[in-house]
Symmetry: C2
Subunit: 535 residues, 2 copies
């Protein structure tokens, strides 16, 4: 280096977040929903338990670099693991409780989890996983009462914490070492493991506190509805800890009405979930009178947020901000807050911008790349694969030979999303590469059609898939779920779409279903739809 | 490392800020005050000039690691240098225009500046510096018109930019390399050079965008009144560039009334300056009717902000937030925003918290250490030297043999400030170590007495210094400037102080002065007062 800076290079680690909450925000609340009310603690008490937990894990033989699995809902105990495991240099591995038991075991074995923590309410599910687990030697059960009867040999979390020493000699950490890992839900092939570094998650937490992003702050009461096994609940547990925000956890009480009541009773200011949750909650808001006035903002992401959903919340005085990202991107890569210039435009146009995926957040660089491998212009027309780069973007998968194909030669992540960027820099996702409908050599965006269909007053959910077609190669098929008590017809819906799309975009057929199958993280599962209807 | 993270480690450099403003916020305004109005540009035009400037600097022979000096007011051209010099791997060295000419030259030579950029309005001052400069081979003059007549051999900035190539091959940067340097104003001994790394300043910019800190955001119109040669205008030019905020520069028009008018005409949302500026502006607000309703928040720092000043602005609907830091700390180390729990207390108590230096910002760790070298408890009573650690804290001075004494053996910066921390974590500075008055074996805080004196309706400014005393070792002497047309008496002021302090704290005498001498960055210069009155 020609002329080095002379500043400290304190490692960027999640322990900075833990220490900050402990020293500055001891009396801020951590609330977990229980069957008959809430369990309440604060950072002071929780951080003391975290220290005991770390010491107990150490006594159990867990060492820096070891993977510690979790199989749980969002709860204060899960937060304790979020803080203890990375802070002691071990690796938090959150298992997706909604996957098939054999797939959960495959993932735990692939990551070589050394111990797995399980919510007692999930024991029936985990008992089907346990026989297939080969690497974990210990299981620990989290819950309030005595250990439930179970077929697996397990310890009690509360006894473990109790037995831990009140002080633990926290090791020095390198910012590049792993703090956590998470497997993609894998709609195709085996799941792929993303290994987050301390540096990546600390920076993501810092960024999440910025005014122009999630804006997590001390005054917030944060409700991550998004599961702690889904891309680290979008990093919110660490962002909230760093800034001293109160945290509210729904545990297994995840129905829309549960969530709505929790927002009202806990005066939640900030909540985050996939659109399906917000679609569901809208229904119950119309049935039940709840005061949700504390809710300053909602982050929705994980799949495209229909314009009609944003509008419906706006009409009820609630602000949905769309975020975009993936397990491989920390996850927050872009966010659709409006810039000052766009706020000067008409309210219709503002809405259209809010229905996009927004501007890349500070620290993330984004480009769209055409089939020719050349970056496409930001002209609002050229389409290309969205590629990103930055400190909270994965550079490879864990022990996976398919890794190279997901990155470009110059080191950008290929997201598999196809998008357009307009001259203002707002990204609009057109589709997942594999969900685009190729009709007569032209692309049709399933996402656009779905968003429009879900704007119809009788439609609750809509998914559009490609079906093979002799002449046109592929044609779009719409799968629609009507709102309770409503019945739409094919003609009615096609007529509704007609003014907004070229004629050849309109679906050839509309199937009315009881429900759209969903993936383990709440996205429409088009793989299942295709398998069922493509013939 | 036992288990490395698998995330990208994109270097944290200021070029990320430059690229972000250029790609996303091209049409956001950059405004500089001129003698007869304003000069207006935007990030698109400015960034294009930055690229030309970098190429011209390269053609001139400037290479990565070379120091590039500036001797200028806050302006768009100065911002161009803030972006071009670090982005090309060279080191921006901002010279303090208010120092004695020989001291400026000493600093430029110590840093080995290779070229120096000078505002044309500062040529008369710089002509006294130039003969003493030994390392810089080139001088460049910034201004609008033709090159003014001058005794020094210099190039024109505008011609230089014009001659630059529109595209420049930006080099790869290492995040640990230097981006900028700044010398402390040095109230004792020679100035000391702080060398900022890219990593430190990028992280500082990210942090400055957080809700709980400066909250710099896209919607802001930021006015750094604090000079660009004073700890990088507190990092605001880079924070604003990263977030796409508009930037408003006062140039040489720095009187309180100039600043107030600029805030009103440019609808500034966020302004930052030392307390003396805000004290001065208060005066003119009472004389002139100006609409300052756009101003959402004011950051004051650099020396303690008197409670009465915060109250006076509050009464006029303006919010002063006190920040604390120093050239060696990036500079932002703590900030006195109120937590939710403190906002529940009485408004008097809230005010007392706002008059403190606040909570350490995310990324900074803080402790107070007693004379015994042991960290003191946060009990609101124990005093100790404030010590800090973090990524935007210097780890040594540039080529300075006195460096080691400013750091502890375990690597914390000794700030030379004495403080108290209460159980909520709020830091309150009692004094600079060297400004404490030692009376009869006990400490008296000059800062506390000054703050109280400045709360008296007739007092404009007050500085308290120690004078030698045979019996008590030292005793406090108050130096006071009355508001125009006001006359206070010694008895009146002592009587005013009496209810708030122990009897032995009360100053032995009060001197009434025309003005308090100030340092080059606007702090009370107690060294001068002591030299004059200590006898």
């Amino acid at each position: 280096m020609d002329f080095p800076g002379l500043m400290m290079e304190t490692p960027l680690t999640l322990r900075l977040a833990f220490d900050r909450a402990r020293t500055l925000f001891g009396n801020k609340e951590i609330v977990t929903k229980t069957p008959d009310g809430t369990a309440r603690t604060n950072y002071e008490a929780l951080c003391a338990r975290v220290e005991r937990l770390a010491s107990a894990l150490h006594d159990m033989g867990v060492r820096p670099g070891d993977r510690v699995g979790t199989f749980g809902w969002n709860s204060a105990r899960h937060l304790e693991l979020y803080l203890a495991v990375p802070s002691m240099g071990a690796v938090l591995h959150t298992l997706n409780i909604r996957l098939h038991p054999e797939q959960v075991a495959w993932i735990a074995n692939h990551a070589e989890d050394s111990v797995i923590f399980i919510d007692d309410s999930l024991l029936p599910a985990f008992e089907k996983v346990a026989p297939h687990v080969t690497t974990a030697k210990r299981f620990v059960i989290m819950g309030d009462g005595p250990l439930p009867e179970t077929t697996i040999t397990a310890d009690s979390y509360e006894e473990l914490v109790e037995a831990g020493h009140p002080t633990f000699a926290w090791p020095d950490l390198d910012e590049s070492q792993a703090c956590a890992m998470c497997y993609t839900s894998g709609t195709t092939g085996d799941p792929k493991g993303v290994v987050y570094s301390h540096r990546s998650m600390f920076l993501h937490a810092l960024m999440s506190g910025m005014v122009d992003t999630n804006g997590v702050c001390e005054n917030d009461r944060v409700l991550p509805v998004v599961p702690m096994f889904h891309a680290n609940a979008w990093g919110l547990p660490w962002a909230a800890t760093l800034t001293g925000a109160s945290q509210i956890f729904p545990a297994q009480f995840m129905t829309p009405v549960d969530i709505a009541r929790l927002i009202a009773s806990e005066r939640v200011t900030f909540a985050a979930a996939v659109p399906t949750i917000w679609i569901g909650m809208l229904q119950c808001l119309d049935q039940e009178r709840l005061d949700l006035s504390s809710l300053e903002r909602i982050i929705a992401g994980g799949s495209a947020v229909p314009l009609s959903l944003i509008q419906a919340y706006e009409q009820r005085g609630m602000k949905i901000v769309q975020g975009w990202g993936m397990t491989e991107t920390g996850p927050l890569a872009s966010l659709s807050r409006l810039t000052g210039h766009i706020e000067e435009r008409s309210s219709d146009e503002q809405m259209r911008f809010r229905a996009r995926q927004g501007l890349p957040v500070p620290g993330i660089e984004l480009r769209i790349v055409g089939d020719d491998g050349v970056p496409a212009p930001w002209d609002g027309e050229a389409m290309g694969e969205v590629q990103v780069r930055g400190n909270w973007v994965a550079r490879t998968y864990y022990n996976d030979p398919r890794s190279p194909q997901s990155w470009t030669e110059d080191g950008w992540l290929r997201t598999g999303d196809v998008g357009i960027v307009d001259p203002t820099g707002y990204v609009q996702l057109v589709d997942r590469t594999k969900d685009l409908v190729k009709s007569g050599g032209e692309w049709i965006s399933s996402v656009d059609l779905e968003g429009a269909l879900m704007g119809h007053p009788k439609v609750l959910e809509a998914a559009v898939i490609a079906i093979p077609h002799e002449q046109w190669s592929e044609r779009p098929l719409a799968c629609v779920v009507c709102k309770p008590g409503q019945r739409a017809t094919k003609d009615e819906l096609i007529e509704f779409l007609a003014p907004s799309f070229p004629k050849w975009w309109l679906p050839d057929d509309v199937l009315f279903l009881e429900e759209i199958p969903k993936t383990s993280v709440g996205k429409f599962d088009k793989k299942v739809l295709r398998a069922k209807f493509a013939g």
